[in-house]
């Protein structure tokens, strides 16, 4: 659908502009939706296992104990899913990791998108954001 221009207003100093970045926006939107749906599906799967086993346990989050180490690192989560000791919680945690990955993937894809548009300035801007993001995410001791 071609972008409709706004109706002319009196003494309008705007220069009407074509809708730029349309293609990147559609691809980014689809990427986000796919990422979110996959992570939600994984969390739902984990939730059904977790609830089928723990539905009648008392829920108590009043005292902070901290999560066990297997839920604190990427490697720990993946191992707990493979070994199956996760009892559902490991699968939920994997889904949450996938959710956290969607904004990072969004920035990474934007680099490619701006490169396709030959917009060097924004390739540089987006690379800076990606670098800071990866630095603080991976530098936190979450491990790979």
């Amino acid at each position: 659908m071609p972008a409709a221009q706004a109706p002319a207003r009196q003494s309008q100093p705007f220069k009407p502009q074509p809708w730029r970045d349309r293609r990147i926006e559609v691809i980014l939107g689809n990427l986000l939706r796919t990422g979110v749906l996959i992570s939600a599906a994984v969390v739902l799967l984990g939730a059904s296992i977790y609830l089928s086993r723990h539905a009648h346990d008392p829920a108590d989050y009043g005292v902070f104990r901290g999560e066990p180490s297997e839920y604190r690192t990427i490697r720990g989560v993946i191992q707990s899913v493979i070994v199956g000791r996760g009892r559902g919680q490991g699968i939920i945690q994997l889904g949450l990791l996938l959710l956290i990955a969607t904004p990072i993937a969004r920035v990474a894809f934007s680099v490619v998108g701006f490169a396709i548009e030959r917009d060097r300035l924004y390739v540089v801007f987006t690379l800076i954001v990606l670098a800071i993001l990866l630095y603080s995410f991976l530098g936190s001791g979450i491990g790979l």
Partner: protein, 278 residues
């Protein structure tokens, strides 16, 4: 309460948080953290972990349609995200070095004033703005689908907006929540970006900022699967509904919702400053 009841109630509360978060560009944490700690007696650290999950879920859930419909401006988002992420790094560095209570009181007062300011819709004259040379060079000007067709806008005062974004990032690193509010206010009040573009671009950005600090919270054991599961699913559903509402909503009513949520956030910050963390 057993796990099943707890999951159901938290999911419903999170649905509302996701709805409000996606409509206002603030993320779900504003609503979620006080509710979880006060009514569900959840430890603040688990609540912060769940809030982080909710911010990413709101952002990614709603961003898909906001980006596709052409509301969020990805250039404004990416450009300002440089300031926000750098600010967040500084904030995290300063967090253990300066007292946050005084800061929370100042921030709370600023938010109460902003709640008053952002309530007012813009006049026709305030909408027609000249081209700003820096904004033009950075290609920040754009257009978005207004109720009566696609409307163009010219971004103003880029350096002020960029500095405020740096402050927003630092605040989020220092206080844990509240960066979405400064983002929307900086774009709306300082850079004079149309309200719907401001909130949806903030919505696009908060997920990136939250992802930057997700590693820290996850590795400290703040993210609990049993608590985060209903939060994520509820917030996601709420944000999908919110993104459908925003497209058709009148800016006037969105401003009122935003100003009400900002008011609540301001009071939270004052409480935080005077009596310690909620």
């Amino acid at each position: 309460m057993n796990v099943l009841e707890f999951t159901a109630v938290v999911a419903i509360v999170s649905f509302v948080a996701g709805l409000l978060g996606s409509l206002t560009g603030l993320g779900g944490g504003v609503v979620l953290v006080p509710l979880l700690t006060i009514f569900f007696h959840v430890d603040i650290r688990y609540a912060i972990g769940a809030s982080l999950v909710s911010v990413i879920a709101t952002s990614s859930g709603a961003a898909a349609s906001y980006v596709k419909e052409g509301f969020s401006n990805i250039r404004i988002g990416m450009f300002l995200e440089i300031a926000t992420t750098l600010g967040a790094l500084l904030g995290a560095f300063l967090a253990t070095r300066i007292p946050t209570s005084a800061l929370a009181i100042i921030f709370g007062a600023v938010l109460l004033y902003s709640a008053y300011l952002s309530r007012k819709p813009r006049t026709q004259a305030e909408r027609s703005l000249p081209l700003d040379p820096l904004a033009t060079r950075l290609r920040l000007n754009g257009s978005f689908p207004d109720l009566e067709g696609r409307r163009s806008y010219n971004v103003q005062r880029v350096p002020t907006g960029f500095s405020l974004m740096f402050g927003a990032g630092a605040l989020s690193g220092l206080l844990g929540i509240g960066s979405g509010a400064v983002k929307v206010l900086a774009m709306d009040q300082a850079m004079r970006i149309p309200f719907k573009v401001s909130t949806t671009t903030s919505n696009f950005m908060i997920g990136v900022t939250a992802a930057a600090s997700a590693g820290v919270y996850l590795s400290r054991g703040y993210v609990d699967p049993g608590l985060s599961m209903p939060v994520m699913l509820g917030v996601l559903a709420g944000s999908l509904l919110g993104s459908r509402i925003l497209v058709k909503a009148e800016t006037k009513s969105l401003r009122l919702v935003f100003s009400a949520v900002i008011l609540v956030l301001g009071l939270q910050m004052l409480y935080h400053g005077f009596w310690g963390k909620i």
